[in-house]
Symmetry: D2
Subunit: 285 residues, 4 copies
């Protein structure tokens, strides 16, 4: 079912998130704690922004498990960034291939998903139908995730410039979730869709903790914010805000057992703006 | 632009085709002779039939170049089969991924392609549109080849059982090529489509040497038939038919410089039936 | 710590061992039952004999996990063989690389190991020192396993022809285990060495269930023999011997919960000869 | 035979060296110009320094060809560094594996090699013999290159601290080359050893253009220095030194046809110090 993680704030060395915490994302690739199937060994991906070099982010993906990837291990202690996201995959829909690894990139946007749509193949054709030619051909893999993001982008970019803001992302997500529910209904898919999704342009995050059937529990999603994120001996902390430091994390599961993590309510957005203000609001879908 | 090869006849050890000839397919992966771009290093695939074990063929593909693949080198001298096909890829449309490696498999059928359609993305949506749901979701990769085969299968399987014969394959190819020309015209694609394609069910081959614009020269495609195919010191021979032995090869380029290869005429089919009879006939497209 | 499996007998389609049983080797790659660390996702390898084609076996290895390997899934239902072995790896010593995947091959011999030597690097130089130049250079990877097999081969091949018999293999194992204990002692390694190892030439098996410290429990190793090995709905059976059928399995852990598995005693060999006679005898090390 | 490249100077975006020049290193992976065998498709590696984050460099390697690697393509335009090296491999000694990819790393040092020692396996044991235990176990792969660097490191680190200077590197290279010649002689290897090697700690380069038989021509190695390295439309330039900018390149072959490249004389070192002073001096071996 995958695990994901996102950081924005004072530039941080990746290692502190990917490897050092007791329940780091790399450890979650072997043995996640807050999900029934603990193994997320079907490839991984990271994306990060280097604002002084390029407007577009770097992505690095692999079909190999995160736990044994020598390049990831080598990169992590040597890359410092103000904004990074990462994903470890447990394949449900789609083969283990680079095209099916998250994050997905569209220009300066990065996207990733934790969850799934049962019997997705039944609605695949419907999701593709309204796409612009550009987005139709942007799809490279087979996952429900990538197709849903293509639909989302199609809504997001309809009649507007490249510059997007949080409000537009929220509206595109809501339209997408409503359309998905409609298509699922039309095709007789009754299992709930689990859609914990996160989009960033390096300056903001919008993430969803969502399940299409409100009687069900969505997958876990937490946020944590403070002055500075630190890790020592595997224990992460969020130090109180100071003059220069600020940090926000959004994660599928807590990186350590301490108390600085807040569960996002069912069917709510969490948004983080460029000033690192965190807001929670209901998803109207 | 890829290179392909197919063998049917007296069971043969793969090695004799893949590695031993001077211009073996593995050598063609490094340095093909009869094509402008000699490198075919973007993955490879083989498929073979094991009639006494399973009705469906084995496929083995890799994103690594054929010339250094340890598994291929290890398999080739130890697998004997009455029907095998193989392909080395030079990526034009679509990333280097397992999903984009030939051969493509549908049940007991194997398919591979050498050539390409320029600006294929312009007609991708049109090709997918008429597909059955099953074939729509059968497509796993991004290549023009796989999409064209999906269209071909859609024609082939329309209103008929699983058992297909050479005549049906020929008709499905002709319908597919005609439809492609129409779609290309509608979308203003004027560059010719190069479509050397081969389909087998382990009991027959149907291959095309085709270019959509009859003023152009299609890519090379040869056949060779005889009693027994042998290789010694890199030189292949076709021994005259004997009581028990018969063999047919269809190849993108000659495996050795000797004379047992016949170029298939422009825009013609070559078919090989279960009795290894070879026929050449024009493509009505 | 790895899991391994070997079959000899009436030719069998690989699938029945690798995928069909409830606790198949592929399932053990995700979630092994009889070992502390259930994950064996650091690559895998299979080897099998095709006596009518080649004296040497085929090996097929991959650094990807067995559970998602498309080539393995495709090969397994279509290869029938009288002798096969297979291994899923949990890397302890040595990176995840093809060179570190089991089985290791030397001419017509295949070898694999489940276990390990703590602080192996301390004795690596000593193990290599007595090797013939050929075996010194035969080592391609970094594992304790491959080095121990090089030492074993050096003992096995000392002053004799290529043809080896069970007795010679037994003696080479005993010499190797004694030498290892001596080297460990010299270098102050006090942790026990776990050495469940299996060697085959396609006509016999010799396997060890061994721990260097007799106060410790070795890793599990079972055998099962009978007339024919069958699987239905995930449940394997050993049918009583019949005229034409015979089969022996040696496995790290039981493939199903039924009763046809016998634990090999601590520090004993299990040998299976060409007539499929199974013998148990103590290891003199 | 491989191709290599190194840059030190004003921080540069990798893309300008790896992809943009007409004869960029990525193009050399497909079709190198100044070597008999133009293909360098057996993996690649890059290493770069991030002085404000970590004393040790990042390395990123892959067994896939450079020309199709999506991660390399994605990283290159987004990483800026004052010191980078890169290597594309044509495997001679050793399989295609990550362990055999250059650069090799030892703490803060990066090393790479273009060339080879014929019949290297004959002297492998001799090269390993004098190594410290640490360096004996540092060797992970099978290449002549890595073994020679282990010997070099053993000389370099003998009785001294971690901090090394150019003079020490030069002496270690000379001792290594002399020892190699001696070992080759002892083992009857008469073919010349080709040893274009480069070592860096991020603050200096030492590179060799060397062949063990002075009657032979070594492989090509060039340097270029100036104020700023620029590329436009595939054409690289070295702008005259300005106040703030300085740059030095060392390359196996010229990145463009222009005149800013100087061939290093046969059997000479080129050294580049932290102030970017370039010196050429003979190798005393």
């Amino acid at each position: 079912m995958c695990r994901l993680l996102a950081y924005m704030g004072t530039p941080i060395v990746m290692d502190k998130i990917l490897y050092q915490p007791k329940n780091s994302l790399v450890n979650q690739s072997i043995n996640a704690r807050e999900i029934e199937e603990p193994l997320n060994g079907d490839g991984f991906g990271i994306g990060w922004y280097v604002p002084d070099v390029n407007n577009e982010p770097v992505t690095f993906v692999s079909v190999n498990p995160a736990w044994s990837n020598r390049n990831l291990k080598n990169l992590a202690p040597k890359i410092r960034t103000p904004c990074m996201i990462a994903h470890v995959r447990a394949a449900s829909v789609g083969e283990v291939s680079e095209s099916n690894c998250h994050p997905f990139q569209y220009k300066n946007l990065l996207m990733m998903h934790n969850g799934g749509v049962e019997n997705f193949e039944r609605i695949k054709r419907k999701i593709r139908q309204p796409l612009s030619d550009e987005l139709y051909n942007w799809i490279k893999g087979q996952t429900d995730s990538e197709h849903i993001f293509a639909y989302f982008l199609n809504e997001l970019l309809a009649g507007q410039t490249d510059i997007v803001n949080i409000e537009q992302v929220i509206q595109a997500f809501e339209k997408t979730f409503r359309a998905l529910s409609r298509m699922m209904k039309e095709e007789g898919i009754t299992e709930p869709a689990y859609l914990n999704m996160l989009v960033t342009n390096g300056l903001f995050f919008v993430a969803t903790r969502y399940v299409s059937d409100p009687k069900e529990e969505p997958l876990t999603l937490y946020h944590s914010e403070g002055g500075r994120y630190t890790v020592e001996d595997g224990i992460s902390q969020m130090v109180a805000p100071a003059d220069d430091d600020q940090a926000v994390l959004v994660v599928s599961e807590k990186l350590t057992d301490d108390k600085h993590w807040t569960l996002i309510p069912t069917n709510h957005f969490v948004t983080v703006d460029a000033a690192l203000n965190v807001k929670i609001r209901p998803i109207q879908a």
